[in-house]
């Protein structure tokens, strides 16, 4: 029950963001595709080219299309900053808006071109015959007659956009997809179901209202068109209400796509709320995206791990030792990006190769060196990023690791795959509660090929000197040990007596000296 109550409590925020995004994308899409379609209906060549282009866009997986806009906008923002002295937020609303706008275009283009190009020649002839200019013929005769078919295209586009908008979450745009991505991550199926049902219900309501408008246009019933328009305005207005008053600047807290990050995000939010700073969270961001987003000011604060910054952002392959790495990161982030590194939280969440204890024992595997001897007969499972990260290349080269097969999973499904025997080795996380819960054997790294992964608190350039802000967060430094973090993580991961990240965050807060 409490899960449903918690899901409900997020609905106003998620729904308003979802509606605002979908509506903006649809309106922008219409503003572009209607004039294009009108031009295209008069030229066979242009029409063919446009429909082909929109068709190609449609074949790009929607998640990839959304993801591609982030680096594109980031580069553009860098360019405008250098050339004209202003930049813009490349994360969140803008990339999602542009991708969804492109997505919305095909049905509108196709229906409008088909309706206009296929119009009864006699009617167009009559329009010219009574003395209409081509423009008057379009506005007074062709568009009104094509309206029901165009409306059907708009309906299709609306349903697509509302559905696809759930995929905007990983590019940092809050949507009903937050339920789905977070729910999938923490195995909270109430959340996932809630997100799916909410998005479907929204799509259904909008579809019915647009169908009413379409029908009203077809039978020339002004009352129906007006009723549909009023219904749409009502839906949009009602869902946007939570945004009113929530305006003004909010601190954006970033989080990657796993439990620990959600929990720490909630801890940070709680601390800032206490000193009267309004916050909002951007969850489920990729490792590289989140750091660049911080540097660009798209997010204001998040927790990263020293090894990740060392290998991915700084592109370092050498291993000078834990203290030296932390020191170098603090200097480098400040110097190159103006980012404030508040320091380590007190625990490490390292990438570590882990096996089921029974299997490790049977094969006499204790270290990565032992593993290398058997790797050719073993399958490895990893998360979505590890195999393309430099640390992986370093450790694989150091030990000569070569596996029979590689599979990639959502982190929590990865543990399942190991337990069920689908894979033999996984790239586990050392602070993960499930390492202890499942009695996994973490293989030691005698050559020190894997970097340290101290959790560190990073603050955006804009707040690097914000003393009240920094003071609220400083008590977190050195305050969370590995055992405590593992227990908090397990609260969210475990199947029985499962807690939400917010609940785990409250528990964790209780453990931190104030």
């Amino acid at each position: 029950m409490s899960e449903i109550a918690e899901a409900w409590s997020y609905l106003p925020g998620y729904l308003s963001a979802h509606v605002l995004l979908s509506m903006s994308a649809l309106v922008l899409g219409l503003a572009i595709s209607l004039p294009l379609a009108i031009l295209a209906a008069r030229s066979r060549v242009l029409g063919g080219a446009l429909l082909a282009f929109a068709g190609v866009i449609q074949t790009i997986p929607s998640l990839a299309l959304l993801a591609l806009f982030y680096p594109l906008l980031l580069a553009l923002s860098h360019f405008t900053t250098e050339t004209f002295g202003f930049g813009f937020r490349a994360l969140g609303f803008l990339p999602a808006l542009l991708a969804l706008t492109l997505y919305s275009m095909l049905p509108v283009l196709r229906n409008t071109v088909t309706a206009l190009a296929g119009m009864d020649g006699g009617v167009k002839m009559a329009a010219r015959g009574v003395g209409m200019t081509p423009w008057q013929s379009l506005i007074l005769v062709e568009l009104p007659l094509a309206a029901p078919v165009i409306m059907a295209g708009i309906r299709t586009a609306a349903v697509w956009v509302i559905g696809t908008a759930t995929l905007a979450t990983p590019v940092g745009q809050t949507s009903l997809g937050n339920y789905i991505f977070t729910g999938l991550q923490i195995e909270n199926w109430v959340f996932v179901t809630f997100g799916v049902v909410a998005a479907a219900a929204l799509a259904l309501v909008v579809d019915r209202l647009l169908a009413l408008a379409e029908n009203g246009l077809a039978v020339r019933s002004r009352a129906r068109v007006i009723a549909a328009a009023m219904g749409l305005v009502l839906v949009v207005a009602a869902s946007l209400v939570p945004m009113i008053g929530g305006g003004g600047h909010r601190i954006v807290i970033g989080a990657k796509n796993f439990e620990e990050q959600y929990i720490l995000g909630a801890v940070i939010a709680d601390r800032l709320d206490k000193i009267g700073i309004a916050t909002t969270e951007r969850d489920d961001l990729g490792s590289n995206v989140v750091f660049r987003a911080l540097a660009a000011g798209d997010i204001d604060v998040y927790v990263d791990y020293s090894g990740t910054i060392w290998a991915n952002a700084m592109k370092r392959a050498d291993m000078p030792g834990r203290k030296a790495v932390l020191g170098a990161i603090e200097q480098w982030t400040a110097k190159t990006h103006g980012i404030r590194d508040l320091g380590p939280l007190g625990f490490e969440n390292a990438y570590a190769l882990a096996m089921r204890a029974d299997k490790a024992k049977a094969l006499h595997i204790e270290t990565l060196a032992d593993l290398a001897a058997h790797a050719r007969e073993l399958k490895i499972g990893g998360d979505f990023e590890i195999f393309s990260r430099p640390e992986w290349r370093a450790v694989a080269a150091a030990y000569g690791l070569n596996f029979a097969a590689r599979r990639q999973y959502q982190p929590n499904l990865m543990y399942r795959a190991l337990i069920s025997g689908d894979v033999d080795v996984i790239t586990a996380f050392s602070s993960d509660g499930r390492v202890a819960q499942y009695d996994l054997k973490v293989l030691s790294d005698p050559k020190g090929a894997l970097p340290p992964y101290d959790a560190i608190l990073l603050v955006s350039p804009a707040h690097a000197q914000d003393q009240a802000f920094l003071a609220a967060l400083k008590p977190l430094i050195g305050a969370i040990d590995l055992k405590t973090m593992q227990r908090a993580n397990l609260m969210v991961d475990r199947a029985d007596d499962k807690k939400s990240p917010a609940e785990a965050a409250r528990w964790l807060e209780g453990r931190i000296g104030r």
Partner: protein, 238 residues
């Protein structure tokens, strides 16, 4: 179209007749500049209409299309008022004109103003199309088989009504048909076309008396032959 030379007098009712593809509709469309001729001149009151603005020219003449060509999304009143509206008439003038025209084509204004074309019979649609063509007080009317799709009684009614309107308003009408009986009943003169050429032009009596060739002869004799056969058939009946 081949070389075509045709003169129409003011107030005249000229019928263009010929088989399908003989160039009747194309001739009509060139006069309205819906089709631009590749050469030659079209003079109205001595003015070369090809030199002026086509859209403005179309608003000055009436055109009744084959199969009415009413705008399906507009009411009867909106259809009739479309050209005056394009010309920027005040709303009150348009409303008054619509009522006047509905009376002229014998449709009760209060019953028909607000109807949509699909709520009308074929004959009523054609009456509305006629009213629409007359709306902006044209002096020249172009009619392309306007009654072709109607059943015979309605067709005769409408044709007779229009012939009276033509006379009462002092219109110059160019009327396309492929029905020689209709042509002879309506036309002051008849122009016979074949393969894009004008074969012969003259009053019904002139065509009957001196047909230019066998084609014209068989065309003009058809109505007489049919009338004779009809009379015989009726006499033979008990």
């Amino acid at each position: 179209m081949r070389a075509l030379s045709l003169a129409v007098g003011r107030g005249e009712f000229l019928v263009l007749i010929g088989e399908s593809g003989s160039g009747k509709t194309t001739t009509l469309n060139m006069i309205n500049r819906l089709v631009e001729p590749s050469g030659g001149r079209i003079l109205v009151d001595g003015e070369d209409i090809l030199a002026g603005d086509a859209v403005g020219w179309r608003r000055r003449m009436g055109y009744v299309f084959q199969g009415a060509g009413l705008f399906p999304h507009m009411t009867v009143a909106e259809n009739i008022g479309v050209t005056p509206k394009l010309l920027g008439w005040p709303k009150g003038d348009i409303d008054a004109r619509v009522d006047e025209l509905l009376g002229l084509v014998r449709l009760a204004a209060q019953d028909y103003r607000g109807r949509l074309p699909r709520e009308l019979s074929g004959g009523q649609q054609q009456r509305v199309a006629l009213a629409r063509a007359l709306a902006a007080r044209p002096r020249i009317m172009l009619m392309d088989e306007p009654f072709g799709a109607l059943d015979p009684i309605i067709r005769d009614d409408l044709a007779e009504d229009y012939r009276q309107i033509h006379a009462a308003l002092g219109l110059t009408t160019i009327f396309v048909t492929h029905d020689m009986t209709e042509a002879m009943l309506l036309g002051d003169r008849i122009a016979v076309m074949r393969d894009g050429e004008l074969v012969q032009i003259g009053t019904p009596n002139e065509l009957l008396a001196a047909p230019a060739d066998d084609f014209v002869r068989s065309l003009v004799e058809t109505p007489k032959k049919r009338a004779r056969r009809l009379a015989e058939a009726l006499r033979a009946a008990p």
